[in-house]
């Protein structure tokens, strides 16, 4: 599949970077390590703090789900860490490190600091190692080009040794992976249906056998039936090729099915991080609980649900204390005064940013936030690295 991939480590070295030849265990385990990343829109008085102090790691070959509503910073986060965020977005702190593995020897890992990388270095890891699928494939595909040209261009840029017919053959192979006929290569984007376009984008994202695929609400614009088909295909493709995924969506119930580990974001911060099954069975943050309760169930008794009172916060306004406090049914005085950090929850391997769960909290944890869970036999271990 990737016969012609040149050792990226060598190339980076030639251009002045000093790759860590002795790969650390954490670099081998995680394809992406993000620490304390903060993002602003603008820098003056009207500045909007879109993301603050986000730390997360993506384990190789697993799916990290990022759940949040509009304004939670979930998309800003991934655009920023891939340095694709548009002006006036500014990364105001933290770093993101992509651990690029050598195709010849997977134990050889070269960390690339995305937050300090030059345009040249970024170009080298983009698409070969990290690719992206956006919500609207219609906008993501060039409207005046045939589908085949998009594949050809990517392959020609990153796989110099492939001949024209090789590239065409590879493109047809990729389309076949997502269940599309090769004749689609000669079509323009507007001639395909929404589902076909999104499948095309996924095929394109896998063209260079990347280690990490970022999916920004890839199924939100699609019908449920098409969404189901694509999600099923994604799961199959992942188990076949072993890439890791960051899957961003507002649909927490979709993530519970798809992701290994989930982070829940609210107002630019991670409020909870846990293994998918655990998060669903036993949410620890009031927001996660509210979000899960916002999906009417398809089975069981019909009962009245309340959702979450109030409106999402205005990020431009300076806030004191926990940003969820105004909507939180369990808010205490401390919540309005002090912002809780994302802290490990005992030795459970999960983290939560809520004062209710601190060791010294005098208030007992409310029953809905203290459910017990049985550790499911998921593919991924609880994801805390340090």
């Amino acid at each position: 599949m990737s016969t012609s991939r040149v050792d990226v480590g060598d190339r980076l070295e030639r251009h002045g970077a000093t790759p860590a030849r002795e790969s650390t265990p954490s670099a081998r385990a995680f394809v992406l390590e993000v620490s304390d990343l903060s993002v602003h829109y603008g820098v003056d008085a009207n500045m909007v703090r879109a993301v603050h102090d986000v730390t997360l790691n993506v384990r190789r070959s697993t799916v990290l789900g990022v759940a949040g509503e509009s304004g939670s910073g979930k998309s800003t986060l991934v655009y920023a860490l891939t340095r694709l965020l548009r002006a006036p977005g500014v990364i105001s702190g933290g770093q993101a490190i992509l651990n690029v593995s050598s195709p010849d020897d997977p134990t050889q890992v070269t960390p690339v600091n995305l937050t300090t990388a030059s345009e040249r270095e970024l170009r080298r890891v983009r698409w070969s190692h990290v690719s992206i699928v956006l919500q609207s494939a219609l906008n993501a595909l060039n409207p005046v080009r045939r589908i085949g040209r998009e594949f050809d261009e990517v392959l020609r840029t990153h796989r110099r040794s492939l001949s024209r017919s090789d590239r065409r053959r590879r493109a047809a192979e990729l389309l076949a992976l997502v269940g599309l006929e090769p004749d689609r290569l000669d079509r323009f984007p507007h001639e395909l249906s929404g589902g076909q376009r999104q499948r095309t984008m996924i095929a394109l994202a896998l063209a260079l056998d990347p280690e990490l695929v970022v999916m920004d609400e890839p199924t939100t614009a699609l019908d449920v039936v098409t969404q189901r088909e694509i999600i099923t295909e994604l799961a199959e493709l992942r188990s076949r090729f072993g890439f890791a995924m960051i899957f961003i969506t507002h649909d927490l119930s979709l993530l519970v099915e798809l992701a290994d580990e989930i982070v829940v974001m609210y107002a630019g911060s991670i409020v909870e991080r846990a293994n998918a099954g655990e998060l669903y069975a036993a949410p620890r943050h009031p927001y996660t609980l509210g979000l899960l309760e916002s999906f009417p169930p398809l089975h069981g008794e019909r009962r009245e649900l309340t959702g979450i009172a109030g409106s999402p916060p205005d990020l431009a306004a300076e806030s004191v204390g926990c940003s969820f406090a105004p909507r939180c049914p369990f808010a205490m005085d401390r919540c309005r005064a002090e912002s809780p950090p994302l802290a490990p929850l005992g030795d459970t391997g999960r983290s939560v940013a809520c004062w209710l769960h601190t060791e010294h909290s005098v208030v007992p944890v409310p029953a809905p936030l203290a459910r017990r869970w049985t550790v499911p036999s998921g593919p991924a271990a609880p994801g805390v690295s340090r």
């Binding site: 509503e69 509009s70 269940g179 599309l180 006929e181 249906s193 589902g195 076909q196 019908d223 449920v224 039936v225 098409t226 969404q227 189901r228 088909e229 999600i231 507002h250 649909d251 927490l252 119930s253 979709l254 519970v256 099915e257 669903y280 509210g290 979000l291 916002s294 999906f295 009417p296 169930p297 398809l298 089975h299 019909r302 009245e304 649900l305 309340t306 959702g307 979450i308 009172a309 409106s311 999402p312 909507r327």
Partner: protein, 350 residues
């Protein structure tokens, strides 16, 4: 304005509503026409105090149906009855009809004029429908309170861009309520909203049905939200009703293969059993010229399905399914198989 009737009387009834669009076949010099059957022969009754949910994917014709009921789109054929009175569909929509039947649109951001404050959106319907200038401010405040936008002063003079999606959708519902309608049509009112505020809107609609006796049509692609609200559920595919049942029977025991596929496709963390799904590349909503509209995607399709359009079969109390799988059941006279209610409705008409 309505006296309470003991038997549930349909406030708005549709019989055989059909809408075809003719479009030009692209790329031809001579204008070859293609007929798109957006809605085909749909009948329904909207009853005071009840929520009727219509579930369908994009292209199922559910939005066109809502617009026909609001008389923004003229049906190709069919009949409408408001409080039992036949409506002349060719004539212009009267102000009186607008006062009875209101429609709430999907996108709250787009359905508010960016140059006018909330006040304008509420006072205009009040003034059009005969309120006095002196009282509109008071009325606008009270209607904001009805949709739980409290205090009204915080919202009346805001511009749309200053409000969140959930708040705007409440304003949008308030605008519809200004005219004191008896029927409220809601076209995907929550699909553009954040997950955490969706239930608030659903509960608001439920409250309007329960406490203010409005007849509500709730249109959605989200079958789980239909289950949360519905007193009657209708599933549409390619312009046709394929299954309908009182309450949420068809969600708990789906009979039509399309309904089964739809339910199996919904993300469900609780992990219920899955049904077979159609194989291969998903096909766009091209209706077959003959036969069952769903035949192209149906895992159970036989040659009969491809050649003969199935009628609606009664498979339970008020539960009908338009599928040959149920051919051993009695066919319904129309897909509107709610005999009890219809008889009572007709009795009061005569």
């Amino acid at each position: 304005m309505m006296t309470d009737v003991v038997a549930p009387v349909a406030r708005l009834s549709a019989r055989g509503l059909t809408r075809h669009f003719t479009t030009r076949v692209p790329g031809r010099i001579l204008a070859a026409k293609r007929v798109t059957r957006a809605v085909e022969d749909v009948s329904l009754d909207l009853v005071a105090g009840r929520v009727t949910a219509v579930v369908g994917e994009s292209g199922s014709g559910k939005s066109v149906l809502a617009r026909m009921l609001a008389r923004i789109v003229t049906p190709t054929s069919g009949e409408l009855f408001l409080e039992g009175n036949a409506i002349a569909l060719r004539a212009r929509r009267t102000l009186d009809y607008a006062a009875q039947v209101q429609l709430v649109l999907q996108d709250p951001f787009a359905s508010m004029n960016p140059v006018h404050p909330v006040r304008h959106s509420l006072e205009r319907p009040l003034l059009i429908h005969g309120a006095h200038k002196a009282e509109v401010d008071e009325l606008a405040r009270s209607v904001l309170a009805r949709v739980a936008l409290d205090p009204p002063d915080r919202f009346l003079d805001r511009y749309p861009h200053e409000l969140s999606g959930g708040q705007l959708q409440r304003v949008s519902i308030a605008r519809a309520l200004c005219v004191q309608p008896s029927v409220l049509l809601a076209d995907e009112p929550i699909s553009m909203l954040d997950v955490s505020v969706r239930l608030g809107i659903l509960n608001l609609l439920k409250g309007l049905a329960d406490h203010e006796r409005l007849a509500i049509l709730y249109i959605t692609h989200d079958i789980a939200s239909a289950r949360y609200l519905a007193d009657e559920t209708i599933v549409m595919y390619a312009g046709q009703v394929v299954e309908r049942s009182p309450g949420t029977v068809l969600i708990d025991e789906p009979a039509h293969p399309y309904t089964q596929l739809l339910i199996a496709s919904v993300p469900d963390p609780s992990g219920a059993a899955r049904v077979d799904r159609g194989a291969g590349e998903s096909r766009p909503f091209v209706r077959a010229e003959e036969g069952c509209a769903f035949a192209l995607r149906c895992p159970h399709a036989t040659s009969r399905c491809r050649h003969e359009c199935p009628p609606a079969f009664v498979i339970g109390e008020g539960h009908v399914s338009r599928c040959w799988l149920h051919a051993d059941q009695a066919p319904a006279s129309s897909d509107l198989a709610t005999p009890g209610r219809q008889r009572e409705g007709e009795a009061t008409k005569t």
